[in-house]
């Protein structure tokens, strides 16, 4: 465990250097992730024409989607594609020879890239929050600290969930498609398709116990000050519960899957 913790900083650092070296790619990744802004733009038209839906004003939508963009750039699901590519090409064999478990190799690589994206995005968001009227977060130190924790939890749950899914690759070549199905279904309960407050009741009930809200809706709602203490604690409990579930599932599936792995090349 201590070896592992010691390995994290240099691995993450080398990933950040990679992301900075290929900064054009990283910047494009951030810029092309504007889907939340499209949905937001339509909501703003709805507000202008039909009045605030469920009491959500223009300012609420701006604050929601600005934060949602941040969460989108914090998602760890790229690891699914990396695992898939490495299992096909046999590069996973090389990774197996290294002293750190492949999970952590992919995790550190992803974390490094995310940190660079965030470094580019956070200043933009802060400036937007200062300049755009209506885009506003009712911050206080406790809430900011809780949001920071929720962001870390969002990343951890997203990453372990994606990594667990990536292990399907030991049995099938359809991992990425399976992941997209799972992610697509989940996006209705994560707050990605629309803020959960605007979804039908049954979707909201499902969202409260499914893992997806932890990865997006929960931190955003927390930052916007829409959750009371009880709701906040419940959100953290659900997120931590799923983190434990996926960590356990990952270990079980890994043990079974790695026995089937037949490297083609490396």
């Amino acid at each position: 465990m201590r070896d592992l913790l010691a390995a994290y900083p240099p691995l993450v650092r080398s990933a950040t250097q990679l992301a900075v070296t290929y900064r054009g790619r990283t910047i494009l990744g951030v810029i092309t992730g504007f889907f939340p802004l499209l949905t937001m733009a339509v909501w703003l038209t709805v507000v202008a024409e039909a009045g605030p839906p469920a009491g959500w004003t223009t300012g609420d939508f701006l604050s929601y989607y600005a934060a949602a963009t941040l969460l989108w750039n914090l998602s760890g699901d790229q690891v699914v594609w990396q695992w898939d590519a490495d299992m096909r090409s046999g590069d996973l064999s090389v990774r197996l020879l290294r002293p750190v478990h492949p999970f952590h190799q992919y995790a550190t690589s992803n974390l490094g890239h995310r940190l660079v994206s965030l470094t580019m995005l956070v200043p933009v968001l802060v400036i937007a929050a200062l300049l755009v009227p209506g885009l506003d977060y009712p911050t206080n130190p406790v809430r900011l600290a809780a949001t920071a924790l929720a962001l870390a939890l969002a990343y951890a749950v997203g990453l372990t969930m994606a990594s667990t899914f990536a292990l399907i690759g030991f049995w099938s070549t359809q991992t990425t498609n399976a992941w997209m199905l799972w992610w697509g279904l989940g996006s209705f309960t994560s707050g990605w398709v629309a803020p959960l407050a605007l979804m039908p009741d049954w979707v909201r009930t499902a969202a409260a116990i499914l893992p997806f809200r932890t990865t997006m809706g929960f931190p955003v709602e927390l930052l916007m000050g829409r959750l009371d203490v009880r709701q906040t604690l419940f959100g953290f409990a659900v997120g931590l519960g799923w983190l434990a579930v996926f960590a356990l599932l990952y270990r079980i599936i890994w043990r079974r899957g790695i026995r089937r792995y037949q490297a083609v090349a490396g």
Binding site: R25, L28, F34, V42, W43, T45, V46, E49
Partner: protein, 264 residues
């Protein structure tokens, strides 16, 4: 004319080879069809959330928005089938020097590089997209006419040309930047802007998207099909599409002049 026939025949041979090599992987095809249908249902369900709170956004009802979403999937299907498999090969063409060989073939280099490969897995996507569009028209319940269908076909052809021009300009950029994967993402991002009718955005976004010409991709073809297109657009669309193709071709030729070849 014979020159054109020859081009068509040779592309036909290329595509037959692409089909032959990919029917080996039937599971991929099935899995892709399932996923495409899923993304369409996803988009339909997602768009319906707006209409829980309003009957129409900027004059577009839910059914009419489905017409546009269907066209978005049609164009994206065509992009993934015809354009993307060629664009994504550009990095290797330049890096490995394969482009040298393609350039010396006795065939129009731009056509060969931009249309040689075909992704059979997405063959059904444009069909599924059109099916959604038709569903939208039926649900909108105002019927259609021969004029509407003809102007729709005309506008859709212009939209496809625009997509082609966009991809060729990305290929021209790829010769210099050697980053086809990212440029592919940019192409999709452009197309993604056409997921909803541009009228659903407020100004200045709406005006920008009309000028850029995102509106010509899905909004105007859909308006044509729904019989409410400004007839003036029937002339403007081909002008926009043709000038885009000419500009892209010029950009492609220009970037070839700066290409020096990595091997031979």
């Amino acid at each position: 004319m014979t020159r054109w026939m020859r081009h068509v025949r040779i592309l036909g041979i290329c595509w037959r080879a692409a089909v032959a090599s990919e029917v080996e992987y039937r599971l991929n095809f099935v899995s892709n069809v399932v996923l495409s249908m899923f993304w369409m249902l996803w988009a339909v369900a997602g768009a319906s959330v707006y209409f829980r709170y309003t009957g129409a956004v900027s004059g577009w009802t839910n059914a009419e928005v489905l017409v546009v979403i269907g066209l978005f999937f049609t164009l994206n299907g065509l992009r993934q089938m015809l354009l993307q498999p060629n664009l994504e090969r550009m990095t290797d063409y330049v890096r490995l020097g394969t482009l040298d060989f393609l350039l010396i073939k006795p065939f129009d280099a731009q056509l060969l590089v931009s249309l040689r490969h075909l992704n059979v897995n997405t063959l059904l996507d444009p069909v599924l997209g059109l099916a959604l569009t038709i569903t939208g028209v039926v649900l909108a319940g105002r019927g259609t006419s021969v004029t509407a269908l003809a102007s729709f076909a005309w506008m859709l052809a212009c939209a496809v040309l625009l997509m082609y021009a966009l991809t060729v300009s990305m290929m021209a950029l790829a010769v210099r930047l050697v980053a086809a994967e990212e440029l592919g993402r940019v192409t999709f991002a452009f197309l993604e802007l056409s997921r909803f009718p541009v009228d659903l955005y407020r100004n200045p976004a709406q005006t920008i998207l009309t000028v850029v010409p995102i509106a010509f991709l899905t909004t105007y073809p859909a308006a044509a099909l729904l019989g409410r297109l400004n007839p003036y657009m029937l002339l403007l669309a081909p002008a926009a599409a043709l000038s885009a193709v000419i500009l892209a071709t010029l950009a492609w030729r220009r970037s070839l002049r700066s290409y020096t070849g990595a091997s031979a």
